[in-house]
C-alpha cells in the first residue's frame, strides 16, 4: 500500500547494439526511459538520416492506413451497430505477433489497388452526376421532335429553348404577339410549374425579345449538342446510367473483398504509430563517438527480469543500478494489494502521488465502495449490477483500464446491497411493506429516519476527512517538520476527535458537560495562537491566526456537510424506484393478462432507467468527495506515472507467450 521503490538504471552499449537494446527494452516492458542529461561525455542522440526517414515512412504509412480504413468502412456493406461503435474491437496477441504486423499486410499493393478503386468510383459518380443532370433537363423536352443539335439559330433568325414560369406564360405569349410579331413560340411541355418552349424570332428582333423576356421569370436553356431527339437521348441515358450502376456495384464488390484486411490494417496502424514513437525515443539516449547510453528507472520487482534480459542481448552491455538522488524526480509506480489494485485507476484519474507521499489508493478503495453503496443504496439494484459488471468485464473486448473500472463498479455494487439492507431499499418497495425482519434492520430509512441518516453520512464524512488529516500528519512528521504536524494537524484532531470523544462521554454522563467545551476551547485557542505563526509581526500573527482558524473550522464543517449528498442521492434512487413501482401497479389493473405484461414492462424499463441515471451520480459524486474533500487534506500529486517503454496501443492487447 505504498509507492513502489524504483532504482535508477543506466545501460551503456556499443552503438551497433542500439536496435537490439531498444527491442529488448520494448519486449521487457520494465524500464521507464528518461532523457539523458547532457554532460562532458554524453551528447543527446540525434536521429540519423535513415532513422528520420523511418519516422517519416511510419507517418506516411499511418496516413495510408487511415485512408484505407476510412475508404473501406465508408463503402462497407454492413454498418457496425451502436455497441460496436462504443466499444472498439481489441486484438490480443503476443509481442512477436505485434512486431510482425507489417509483414501480414502488403500495404503498398493494397493502397495502390484501393486508390485505383477510389479513382474509378469517383469517375463513375462524376459521369453518373452528369448523365443525371442531362436526363433531368431532357425530361422537360420530351415533346420536342427534332434533333437537339438543330435547336440553334441562323444568320437571319434566332432559335432558343426557353423555360418560362407557367403562371406568367399566358402574359408572355400576349406580349410577344403584340410587341414582337416577328416571333413565334412552340410550346413543348410543362413540368414542375415551368413551361418549356422553343422561341423563334427574326434576328433583328433580338433586343425586343430580350426586353419581353426580362419582364418575366425565365431560363434560357442550353440543350446538348447531339444529333438525337430528346426521347432517343433519354433512352441512351437510361442505358448509360444502368451501365454505370452496374459498374458501381462491381466496384463496391471489389471493395468488399478488401474488408478482410481491416483487422490487419488496424493492427498495422498501431504498429506504425508505435514504431515511430520508438524511433523518437532514441532522442532520449545519450551518445559518445562509439557508444550509446540509456537512462531510466526500474521497479525493484522488475529489476531481476531487466538484468536477465539485457544480459541475453549481449555480454558487451554494461548496466549500472543506483538509488535515486536528491534532485531526481523518479516516476511513481503504485504497489497495492490485489483487491485494491483496480482502484488505482481512480487515484490516477486525479494524478499519481509524488514519491514521498502516501499512496491513498486502499483508503480510496474502501471509501469509494461505501460512498457508492450509499448513493446506489438498493439491495435489488446491487444484485443486478454485480453480475452485470462482472459479465461485462469477462466478455466485452476491453482494455486494462476499462476492466479495472468494471471491477471497481462490481465491488462497489456489492456495497449497494449492504447499504440497501440498512436503508430498507429493496427495488424501491415501501419500507412499511417489507417483512418485519427486514424492517428491523432498516435503521437508515431515508424517509422516516431522515435526521439519523443525514447524521450518519456527516459522521462518515468526518471520519474520512480525519483520515486525510492523519495522512498529512504522517507525511509532515516524516519530512521532519514535527512541530508543524503537531500544530496544524494535531489541533484538528484535538478539536474533532478529542472534542467528539469528550462530547460522547458527557452525553453518557461519564464526564461533566464542561469537559468537551474545555477540549474544544483549548483546540480553538491553540489554533488562534499558533496557526498564524508564519506572519512576521504580532498583529499579523493574530489576524492570520483568526483567519486560519475560521478557515480551518468552518471549512472542515462545510466539507463534512458536503457528505450529506450521499444520503440525498440514495434517497433519490429509492424515491424514483418507488414511483416506478406505483406506476407499474397502476397499469396492472388495465386488463387481466395484458395488465401484468404492461406492469412487467414498466418495471423492467423503469428500473433500468433508474439504475442508469443514478449510476452516473453514484460514480461522479463519490469521486468528487475523494478528490475535493479527502485529497484536499493531504494530497500533493505531481508524481510522474511509471510508464515503462513497451507497446502502447488502445486496441492491441499484448499477451504473455505461453510458457513465458
Amino acid at each position: 500500500m505504498a509507492v513502489e521503490p524504483v532504482k535508477k538504471v543506466t545501460v551503456v552499449a556499443h552503438q551497433e547494439l542500439q536496435d537490439r537494446v531498444v527491442d529488448s527494452l520494448v519486449r521487457m516492458g520494465t524500464v521507464h526511459v528518461d532523457r539523458v542529461v547532457e554532460d562532458d561525455l554524453l551528447a543527446p542522440k540525434e536521429l540519423t538520416e535513415d532513422e528520420a526517414g523511418a519516422v517519416r515512412d511510419c507517418s506516411f504509412g499511418v496516413t495510408k492506413v487511415e485512408f484505407l480504413l476510412g475508404f473501406l468502412r465508408e463503402h462497407a456493406s454492413e454498418r457496425p451497430g451502436f455497441f460496436k461503435t462504443m466499444i472498439k474491437k481489441k486484438y490480443p496477441m503476443t509481442i512477436d505477433e505485434f512486431l510482425a504486423a507489417a509483414e501480414r499486410v502488403d500495404l503498398p499493393r493494397i493502397y495502390a489497388e484501393c486508390s485505383e478503386l477510389k479513382r474509378w468510383l469517383i469517375s463513375i459518380m462524376d459521369r453518373n452526376s452528369i448523365f443525371e443532370q442531362e436526363r433531368d433537363e431532357l425530361q422537360n423536352w420530351v415533346g420536342l421532335e427534332m434533333p437537339l443539335n438543330e435547336v440553334k439559330g441562323g444568320s437571319t433568325f434566332g432559335l432558343m429553348a426557353v423555360r418560362v414560369s407557367k403562371s406568367e406564360f399566358g402574359a408572355f405569349i400576349s406580349e410577344l404577339e403584340s410587341e414582337v410579331p416577328e416571333s413565334a413560340v412552340d410550346f413543348v411541355g410543362e413540368r414542375g410549374g415551368w413551361a418549356n418552349c422553343l422561341l423563334v424570332y427574326h434576328s433583328e428582333a433580338e433586343e425586343s425579345i430580350a426586353a419581353v423576356l426580362s419582364r418575366h421569370r425565365y431560363y434560357a436553356v442550353t440543350l446538348p449538342d447531339i444529333p438525337d431527339e430528346p426521347e432517343d437521348r433519354l433512352e441512351q441515358l437510361a442505358s448509360e446510367l444502368t451501365g454505370l450502376e452496374r459498374q458501381r456495384l462491381r466496384v463496391l464488390d471489389d471493395i468488399e473483398n478488401y474488408m478482410v484486411h481491416v483487422p490487419a490494417l488496424e493492427v498495422l496502424k498501431e504498429f506504425l504509430i508505435d514504431r515511430g514513437q520508438k524511433i523518437d525515443v532514441l532522442t532520449s539516449f545519450g551518445v559518445t563517438d562509439a557508444t550509446m547510453a540509456v537512462e531510466g528507472w526500474v521497479t525493484e520487482n522488475g529489476l531481476p527480469k531487466t538484468l536477465e534480459e539485457l544480459d541475453e542481448v549481449s555480454e558487451y552491455i554494461a548496466v549500472e543500478i543506483s538509488e535515486p538522488e536528491e534532485g531526481d524526480n523518479p516516476p511513481v509506480s503504485l504497489d497495492n494489494p490485489k483487491w485494491a489494485k483496480p482502484f488505482e485507476v481512480l487515484t490516477k484519474l486525479f494524478g499519481s502521488p509524488n514519491r514521498r507521499e502516501y499512496d491513498p489508493t486502499w483508503i480510496v478503495a474502501i471509501s469509494f465502495m461505501v460512498f457508492f453503496g450509499f448513493c446506489m443504496g438498493d439491495v435489488g439494484y446491487g444484485f443486478v449490477l454485480v453480475p452485470t459488471f462482472l459479465l461485462m468485464r469477462k466478455y466485452l473486448p476491453l482494455g486494462h483500464k476499462a476492466k479495472d473500472l468494471l471491477t471497481v463498479l462490481a465491488y462497489s455494487s456489492a456495497f449497494a446491497i449492504l447499504i440497501g439492507v440498512f436503508a430498507g431499499s429493496w427495488f424501491g418497495i415501501k419500507t412499511d411493506s417489507l417483512p418485519s425482519s427486514l424492517r428491523s434492520v432498516a435503521f437508515m430509512d431515508g424517509l422516516s429516519k431522515t435526521t439519523l441518516a443525514m447524521g450518519i453520512t456527516i459522521g462518515i464524512g468526518l471520519v474520512h476527512m480525519l483520515i486525510g488529516v492523519g495522512i498529512e500528519f504522517r507525511d509532515t512528521w516524516k519530512s521532519g517538520s514535527r512541530t508543524d504536524a503537531l500544530i496544524d494537524q494535531g489541533l484538528i484532531f484535538l478539536l474533532f476527535v478529542g472534542g467528539g470523544i469528550a462530547a460522547v462521554l458527557a452525553a453518557v454522563k461519564l464526564v461533566p458537560v464542561s469537559v468537551p467545551l474545555l477540549v474544544a476551547g483549548a483546540a480553538i485557542l491553540g489554533m488562534l495562537l499558533l496557526l498564524g505563526r508564519s506572519a512576521q509581526s504580532i498583529g499579523g500573527k493574530v489576524v492570520n491566526g483568526i483567519y486560519e482558524t475560521y478557515g480551518t473550522v468552518v471549512g472542515f464543517v462545510s466539507d463534512a456537510i458536503s457528505y450529506v449528498r450521499l444520503f440525498a442521492l440514495g434517497l433519490a434512487t429509492f424515491i424514483i424506484a418507488m414511483v416506478i413501482n406505483t406506476m407499474a401497479g397502476l397499469v396492472r389493473g388495465i386488463a387481466p393478462v395484458i395488465g401484468i405484461l404492461a406492469m412487467l414492462i414498466v418495471l423492467v424499463v423503469g428500473h433500468t432507467f433508474n439504475i442508469a441515471i443514478n449510476l452516473l451520480g453514484a460514480f461522479v459524486h463519490p469521486l468528487r468527495l475523494e478528490f475535493v474533500e479527502f485529497f484536499g487534506k493531504f494530497y500533493d500529486d505531481g508524481g510522474r506515472e511509471f510508464k515503462p517503454l513497451g507497446v502502447e496501443s488502445k486496441i492491441v492487447m499484448i499477451e504473455e507467450k505461453e510458457g513465458a
Binding site: 486525479f350 431522515t450 441515471i613 460514480f619 469521486l623
Partner: protein
Amino acid sequence: MVGVLAAAVKQVAQPATWAGLTGYQWAMLGAALAFIGGGIGSAIGITLVNHVASGILVEDPDKFGPLLPIIAIPGTQGVYGLITAILVPILFNLSKISAQKGFLVFLACLPVAFVCNVSAIYQGMSSVSACGMVARRTEEAGKALILPALVETYAVFSLILTIYLFTRMR
C-alpha cells in the same frame, strides 16, 4: 333562521385559504415549480453541452465514451426537481393540509426550484469547458468530469435543504 344556519354551514364548509389559495393548491404549486425549475434548467444545460459535443464527435467519434457522462451530468437537477415534486404528496396529506402549511411546503420547494434551475444551466456551461478538455486531452477525462460536478454541489444542498424542511414540517 334556516338562511342564517345555511350561511354558517357554507362558511365552515369552505376550505381555508392563504392569499387566495388553499393549502392543497399551494403545495401542488410548490411541487410543480420544483420540477419546472429543475427540468428547464437541465434541458438548457444538456443542450448547451450537446452543441459542443456534437462538434467534437464529428471530428473524432472515438471520444463518445468519455463525453457521454459529461453530457449527461447537467440532467441530474431535473431528477432532483422530480423527486421534490413526488415527495410532496408522499410526505403530506394534501387533502387535509392547512393553507398555512401548504404555503410553507411551497416555500420549502423554492430552493430546489431556483437553485436547480440556475445550477443546471451553469453546470451545462461548465460541462462545455470540460468537453473542450476532453477534445484536446482525452486522458484527462476523469478530471474534466469532476469540474462540472463541483457546480452540482449547490443543487444537492438545495435538495437536502428541501427534504430537511419537509421532514421538520411533518
